[in-house]
């Protein structure tokens, strides 16, 4: 009997755990370790942040779902990996510290035969002074990264709306809180949902709305932008995004590294080296992501964290990490099997794997400050990686010598639906597909992507799709009847 341990129960981890329990649960042991007791459909946190959904609509308890399967759920956070075991224990194991189930603070060594690292990111609020301390949000800004953060954001938004109704103008600042952020899409959705909300509440003319981002152009999205057919042209996402901001009356600051947040003001540096400030009454700034800070130890107890993890704390996999300059980058640099090169029974999926490099061209200000979006790898790619990794592990348990499935961001596409306002008849969203995620300028000269597989449009239909996905993926994650029919 093999023991499969999955660290994390987000999109990648929960997908892997669900298929592990289905395929392997009868004969093998599946253990899921997550510090959170609840699963969260993060894309809908945007709607919690504008008071259009409750926390209960976007979360559910994980324990009853795993109780339905043969998976063993431990509400705990992973502290370290001993991939060779220890002097007193020959089996590889993970040391975890409980965060719930009545065992808070106690540690346990959980042995494994196969390990999937799908911990997701550490929300690194502490990287920007004033944005927060460590993983905790600070007092000056709001966040929609978790359902609880989004509830707080919604309450703060309500206060601003009341002030505007009383005749007080309000300044909104939404975007990224550091030069190395990813997840611009979440901030993009939030600024448009706030604008829609303010229109509905009749106070839009009392609001000054500004977007601030580390993208070198609007519509970069951490993917170096994308191109699709529109109106007889192959059009850049820069035009697509700028058009939306212009239509909705928003200003934008791009190529910006926020280096300090104070009460009602951010200080930022732009790619031209200028240092400037921006006032706000309400600000939602996405923090940069980092690895969760796990350590790795060899059998004799020496620290091998550098062997297993990249300097940013993400896990090294079968990527080519040697390409330092943009000119040298190739699609083949991106990992395929997501297997650790050092330990063949360890895999990483979702945000937890270390990308070989960004997708967007790296840029620095004249002062040397890096201002480059890091690659997005949430949502659909995460789920596909989770499924590919557990498929390989299933086959390796059954005798395959190597991983049998791949999930490479240079060979897969992604579908993204970005809400621009909620309402069954008044809502809109931007529906985008991109193929492949990592551009291939040799195969698709000029744009880097298949212009028949890369599309974008704005409208009510896309809002319906986003609503449908909300219900479909929560149904799937709860492992309700027919869940396997809903594709990743």
């Amino acid at each position: 009997m093999a023991k499969i341990v999955i660290l994390g129960a987000g999109v990648a981890g929960h997908t892997a755990a669900s298929f592990a329990a289905k395929w392997l649960g009868n004969e093998h042991e599946v253990i899921v370790v997550s510090p959170n007791s609840k699963w969260n459909w993060i894309p809908s946190n945007i709607w919690v942040g504008v008071g259009e959904m409750s926390k209960e609509e976007v979360t559910f308890d994980l324990a009853p779902v795993y109780a339905k399967t043969k998976a063993n759920f431990k509400q705990a956070k992973a502290l370290s990996i001993n991939p060779e075991g220890s002097e007193s224990n020959n089996s590889p194991f993970v040391t975890v510290e409980y965060t719930g189930q009545g065992k808070e603070g106690t540690t346990e060594d959980v042995a494994y035969d196969y390990l999937i690292n799908a911990t997701g990111p550490k929300l690194n609020f502490g990287a920007t002074p004033g944005l927060g301390e460590g993983t905790n949000l600070g007092e000056h800004t709001v966040s929609v990264c978790t359902a609880d953060h989004a509830i707080h954001a919604s309450h703060e938004l309500d206060k601003c709306i009341e002030k505007m109704k009383a005749g007080e103008r309000q300044k909104f600042l939404i975007g990224t809180g550091h030069g190395m952020c990813t997840c611009q899409g979440a901030a993009f959705e939030y600024i448009f949902n706030i604008e829609h909300k303010l229109q509905e509440r009749g106070v839009r003319d009392m609001a000054d709305m500004t977007w601030i981002s580390n993208e070198s152009f609007l519509g970069d999205f951490g993917m170096g932008g994308l191109h699709f057919k529109m109106g007889g042209f192959v059009t850049s996402s820069k035009v697509f995004a700028e058009s939306l901001y212009a239509e909705r009356g928003m200003d934008w600051i791009i190529g910006a590294h926020v280096n300090k947040v104070e009460s009602g003001m951010v200080t930022y540096e732009t790619l031209d080296g200028a240092i400037d400030t921006q006032d706000f009454d309400f600000a939602m700034l996405i923090p940069p992501f980092a690895g969760v800070g796990m350590k790795a130890y060899s059998k004799d107890g020496s620290d091998i964290t550098d062997t297993v993890f990249a300097p940013n704390g993400m896990m090294k996999v079968d990527a080519d990490y040697s390409k330092a300059t943009y000119a040298d980058w190739e699609p083949s640099d991106w990992p395929k099997t997501l297997q650790s090169p050092a330990y063949k029974n360890i895999f990483a999926a979702g945000i937890a794997f270390a990308p070989p490099h960004p997708i967007s061209k790296p840029m620095k200000s004249p002062n040397g400050t890096p201002i480059t979006p890091t690659p997005p790898r949430t949502g659909m790619p995460s789920a596909m990686m989770g499924k590919a990794v557990i498929s390989s592990i299933r086959d390796m348990i059954n005798g395959a010598p190597e991983p049998t499935h791949t999930s490479c961001m240079a060979e897969m596409g992604a579908a993204c639906v970005a809400s621009a306002g909620k309402g069954m008849l008044s809502g809109t969203a931007a529906a985008m597909t991109v193929f492949p995620i990592v551009p291939d300028f040799k195969k698709y000269p000029g744009t880097g992507r298949d212009i028949n597989g890369t599309t974008g449009e704005i409208g009510l239909a896309a809002h319906w799709v986003k609503h449908l996905l909300h219900h479909a993926f929560i149904w799937k994650a709860k492992l309700k009847p027919g869940w396997t029919l809903i594709p990743e």
Binding site: S243, E247, M384, A415, L425, G459, L460
Partner: protein
């Protein structure tokens, strides 16, 4: 005292755009395009089209 100018209805949704600002230098939707974005009959057709596109993409991406 200058006479108040009635805003052309084709431009009412973009009357906030000021000349020589970044917003002035990009594509802005026509009123017809704006209407189609929430026209239910057209959007039902687009809903089907988006689902087909996304399903095709998903099938192409699994290895």
């Amino acid at each position: 005292m200058s006479e108040e100018v009635k805003v052309d209805k084709e431009h009412s949704h973009v009357q906030h755009v000021e000349p020589y600002t970044p917003q002035f230098g990009t594509m802005i939707p026509s009123s017809g395009q704006k209407f189609m974005r929430t026209c239910v009959i057209w959007q039902i057709i687009r809903f089907i089209a988006i689902n087909i596109k996304m399903t095709t993409l998903i099938l192409k991406s699994h290895h």
